[in-house]
């Protein structure tokens, strides 16, 4: 066995001996760090679940142009000409598609929750419609275009469909920023907690440190057990936080399932995957190490 490996094994043994000597303090610190880590992990879990949903929704602006119900089919199809002219006049590139009312009805009947309602109506209450898909570059021209579309003959309602999707995307982005800020703040809290825990440990082992130093121990040899203690604290707290969040999804999903059923959706919150979980464990170990590193360096520099 190499000397390097032996020294690390000795450091791990020393760290575990220190923990066994004061298990209450260690577990309390683990709990505090776990709580601090649980909040950003919960936020990340939420974002990871919402992100695929919001990504599926188009955030390119769409305009639905509903014609009056009694518009003849020939008039309806002919309307594409003034619409295209308007687009050309304003230099807007857009995809224009016509949706006949029969097709719209068939699509709605496919949605099981509405089919029953439609069958009670007898006829087709839906109008013919056009859908204009614009690029994001033309969003500033949207308002003027909508106004002009409303003046065209046989046009009943003009509706901009993408606003709420954009708002959702903006909200997710704000939430992400907030989460990042919270993660940084709570990361600092974790570092401070580990820093203080390590400081108290170093103070209580001052005699042992000064003896080993007199006997020829290098700084690395003296510091190493405290780094392991910080890493143990980080990994244990990270694992507890991940476990608690994963466990709390079960009752939360029961409530979500009831709500999602109303929208014919099977949306449910899933725990973080293996890789993100491992990355979070790695991050919590790093935070533990940073706290221990800063504390040991400061305390032992003062002592010497």
């Amino acid at each position: 066995m190499t000397i390097w490996l032996r020294e690390h094994l000795f450091a791990i043994k020393s760290a575990l001996t220190h923990l066994r000597a004061a298990p209450g303090n260690f577990l309390f610190n683990v709990l505090v760090v776990a709580i601090a880590l649980a909040l950003p992990i919960a936020g990340l879990t939420l974002i990871e679940n919402i992100r695929p949903v919001s990504a599926q929704l188009s955030i390119e602006p769409e305009i639905s142009i509903f014609l009056t119900p009694d518009t003849q089919r020939s008039s309806a199809t002919a309307l594409s000409i003034p619409i295209k002219k308007l687009l050309k006049d304003q230099n807007i590139s857009a995809k224009l598609s016509f949706t006949p009312k029969e097709k719209a009805l068939a699509a709605m009947q496919d949605a099981s929750s509405i089919a029953e309602v439609l069958s009670t109506l007898g006829g087709n209450p839906l109008p013919d419609a056009y859908v204009l898909s614009l690029s994001n570059q033309d969003t500033d021209k949207l308002e003027k275009l909508v106004e002009q579309l409303r003046t065209l003959p046989d046009v009943d309602v003009v509706q901009v469909d993408s606003a709420w999707v954009k708002r959702l995307a903006a909200l997710v982005q704000i939430f992400q920023m907030g989460l990042l800020f919270m993660a940084i703040t709570l990361g600092v809290v974790v570092v401070v907690v580990v820093f203080n825990a390590t400081r108290l440990q170093v103070i209580s082992h001052q005699a042992e440190i000064s003896v080993t130093r007199l006997l020829g121990a290098t700084n690395t040899f003296i510091h190493r057990p405290y780094y392991y203690t910080g890493a143990f604290l980080g990994i244990l707290a990270g694992a507890i936080a991940l476990g608690v969040i994963a466990a709390s999804l079960q009752p939360l999903n029961q409530a979500i399932a009831e709500f999602a059923k109303l929208y014919a959706s099977e949306f449910r919150l899933l725990p973080l995957g293996l890789l993100p979980s491992l990355a979070l464990l790695g991050a919590s170990v790093c935070l533990g190490l940073i706290g221990a590193y800063l504390s040991v360096r400061r305390q032992l520099a003062r002592a010497s």
């Binding site: 000397i3 032996r6 000064s210 003896v211 007199l214 020829g216 040899f221």
Partner: protein
């Protein structure tokens, strides 16, 4: 070989622990540093171990100038020294064997090697049956002999002992000094500080310090 070349240690403007000390300690000698409390004995020992650095002058230990040693090199110098301190500094939460093994563990020795050498060291100081005892269960003399075992386990070339017989009765003090003399006879340089003059005749040389200066130095009658 230990050499002090015009060494002074000044803590403040008028407070000198050592003043212009020059001396030479050849290999294999048993040196007694004598003098009253505050004479500078402990400071002199601490300088050999690199615990204190001189304000001026040079301290050469085994050819290395201590005052020029970088902090990172000090541990490697200390591994060649055996330190015995007045209060032993045994770790109270570890049994005797673990305390004696510690100097070997810090050098990266395997646990089995450290244990077998620690048992040999305990045997040499007459405490083979105390390996599993806790330091608090031992008498003052036994604790001091454990400290000696810890100091010799690394097979040092120099042993530095700061007041090793303080707080010991004559019988225990003699046991401690006898143990040190055995190592000296094996070629180890022993530098012992003591204000107790009844043991001076056991040294090969006595260096008498007063107010941080070498006031006198003589070859002891027994050793001569």
């Amino acid at each position: 070989m230990i050499e002090f070349d015009n060494v002074s240690k000044q803590y403040s403007r008028d407070a000198y622990a050592l003043r212009d000390v020059s001396l030479s300690i050849p290999d294999g000698e048993l040196i007694f540093l004598a003098g009253a409390s505050g004479a500078g004995k402990s400071t002199l020992l601490k300088m050999i171990a690199g615990i204190e650095k001189p304000s001026s002058g040079r301290v050469i230990v085994n050819g290395q100038d201590i005052s020029k040693l970088k902090a990172g090199s000090l541990p490697y110098l200390r591994r060649k020294l055996g330190l015995i301190l007045q209060d032993q500094k045994l770790l109270s939460d570890r049994h005797v064997l673990a305390n004696v093994m510690l100097p070997l563990i810090v050098t990266g020795a395997s646990a089995s090697e450290a244990e077998s050498r620690a048992r040999i060291a305990l045997d040499k100081v007459g405490l083979p049956d105390k390996a599993q005892a806790m330091p608090m269960e031992l008498s003052g003399g036994e604790q001091q002999r454990v400290a000696i075992a810890r100091a010799i386990v690394n097979r040092p070339k120099i042993i530095l002992a700061d007041e090793p017989t303080a707080f010991l009765d004559r019988d225990n003090a003699n046991k401690v000094l006898s143990a040190l003399k055995i190592f000296q006879s094996a070629g180890v340089t022993c530098v012992i500080s003591s204000h107790d003059e009844q043991f001076l005749d056991q040294a090969s040389r006595v260096i008498y310090l007063r107010h941080g200066q070498v006031a006198d130095s003589w070859q002891a009658a027994v050793a001569a």
